[in-house]
Amino acid sequence: MRRPLLLFLWLATDYLLFLGVYAFAYFQRVGWILSSDLPFRNFMTAVALSGVPWLAGLVITRTFSLTRRQRTPRNAAYIGCAAILGVALVTTVYFFLFQRVFSRELLLTAFVLSAFATWAWHMVFGLLMRMTLRSGLPSFPTLIVGVTRESRHLIDLLQKRQSVLKPVAILDASGIKEREIAGVPVKGKLDKLEEILREFRITHIIQCSDLEQSINLLSACRARGITYMLLPSVMGIVERDERVESLEGKAVTVVSPESGWWNWFFR
């Protein structure tokens, strides 16, 4: 229940932040008075109505997704796009309601403030969420399958960054001598899968090797409602630009040859 509650709190605080930032921008540009040319009440009505589709914009760009790292430039770009959407929405809604347009400087200030304030708040909230979801019984106990260089690095990363996916157990198809890796216990071979899924109430499996067992791991995940993840290196993909795209409506994993950044638009 922690995650839905936190998500609701996050959406609510984001909405309040949106209102607050626009109110601050209003007073910043208009002055600390209530203008009759641009009535505060009318302005905030437009902002309040625009806040919901702005939140929807953030949701669509998966800004609130469980595994999203808030501090990344890509996430900042998504929040920036949502801020542009917010400004456009406020302007349009205000025009539709009151048949008037208003200060470009106000819009610019609101855009900059909403983009930066949202990003900052998301970083803070993201951190709080990680700490909350990992404390006590973890909300998302994760099973790592396969001990490889990549999986060791991944476990290390998940632990260091306090990821919401907390590794609680490791299985390896061929068995290894180590008892634990970065504090996570190695519980044996794949014959322990069902036992571990039950014992730890696993919510996520990350497959890091043994590609031949993908179908069986997926089968176990489907049967128990567990989310399955696969490290691209299991399939020999190490380029770090792999992505799932659509080919005539069919999903395909794409790894493109190295080329200049401008080619990104034409891939």
Binding site: A173, G188, K189, L190, D191, E212, N216
Partner: protein
């Protein structure tokens, strides 16, 4: 003589087929691997099957379905691979607990033996006896206990999984330990409980006479997916064994194929496959696959896959 079948392994290399059943209970040519062994043992001989707690229920069910008297199941307390007694340890434990004072025919439950057991038993002259097979390849011999033969049937040396084998003759998990040698076994089991082959090194070390029975009939040690499929191909040959309760329509079958009870297979191609019970396959091409109970496959092609019980792979369009 008393037969003792070792069936206490966890068979992790055959996961997921061994997720809910022991390796000796895996079907091979229409019946469990261990049933092939049981059928070779003379009917009057008592048989004890040793397994672990995790697979005990499966063996109880299997025993209930067997038309044979004098069968007994011994269950080790462990349900974990790393808590096993070991092959020799479980024999010693049983000998001690049951105060066994008899010659022992010891068999590993995951082996298929092509030779006549009666001939093997006749070769027993009161010395420890092991059944040996020439694998014809030094590289292959590295994975087994290698037997060095002297004159006649005498064994002059035994090397357990050597890095440089001296011979291509290997021990096959079918041995007779005379009751006179049981004290040595009990003593050795305390030191190396998981080393069944090592007991022959110990016998030789103590200047005891060890005999070997060399056979050329098929022998299959089923330890991995590859060896399981190989054993299946060897036993079935180029034919399909289809259970009378299974339905196959508009399907091409090539190589060695077995289809279990209540299966429904339509518009598919099967090559060298084992399909267990209650499986539904439509519009699929499967090659070198073992499909466990209750799987549903539709519109998918698979090669060299073992699918766990209840896997659903349904591709639309």
């Amino acid at each position: 003589m008393h037969a003792f079948i070792l069936a206490g392994g966890f068979a992790t290399r055959l996961w997921p087929l061994t997720e809910k059943r022991a390796k000796p209970l895996l079907p091979l040519a229409g019946k469990p691997i261990i049933t092939h062994l049981i059928e070779k043992i003379p009917s009057g001989m008592p048989i004890t099957v040793s397994t672990n707690a995790a697979f005990a229920d499966g063996f109880k069910q299997w025993l209930d379905g067997l038309q044979r008297s004098g069968m007994e199941l011994v269950v080790e307390g462990t349900s974990r691979d790393d808590h096993k007694l070991g092959a020799l340890g479980s024999i010693a434990e049983w000998v001690r607990a049951e105060s066994i004072d008899d010659d022992l025919l010891i068999l590993t439950g995951d082996n298929y033996l092509g030779f006549s057991m009666e001939t093997f038993l006749k070769a027993f002259s009161g010395n420890p006896l092991l059944a040996a097979h020439d694998v014809g390849d030094l590289e292959r011999a590295k994975a087994f206990g290698v037997v060095i033969k002297g004159e006649g049937t005498r064994v002059t040396g035994f090397e357990e999984k050597p890095k440089s084998p001296s011979s291509t003759l290997v021990s096959t998990g079918c041995v007779i330990i005379p009751k006179s040698a049981l004290p040595v076994l009990m003593e050795f089991a305390k030191v190396k409980p998981d080393n069944l082959g090592g007991i022959f090194e110990e016998f030789l070390h103590r200047n005891m006479t060890v005999d070997c029975f060399i056979f050329s009939e098929p022998w299959m040690d089923i330890g991995s997916f590859g060896s399981y499929l190989h054993a299946h191909r060897e036993l079935i040959g180029e034919q399909a064994l289809v259970d009378p309760d299974a339905t196959i329509k508009e399907t091409t079958v090539r190589g060695s194929v077995t289809v279990g009870r209540n299966c429904m297979i339509e518009r598919s191609e099967l090559t060298d496959c084992m399909i267990f019970d209650n499986v539904t396959i439509r519009d699929c091409t499967l090659r070198d696959c073992v499909i466990d109970d209750g799987c549903i496959l539709q519109g998918i092609d698979l090669r060299k896959q073992m699918l766990r019980t209840g896997t659903k792979l349904i591709v639309d369009g």
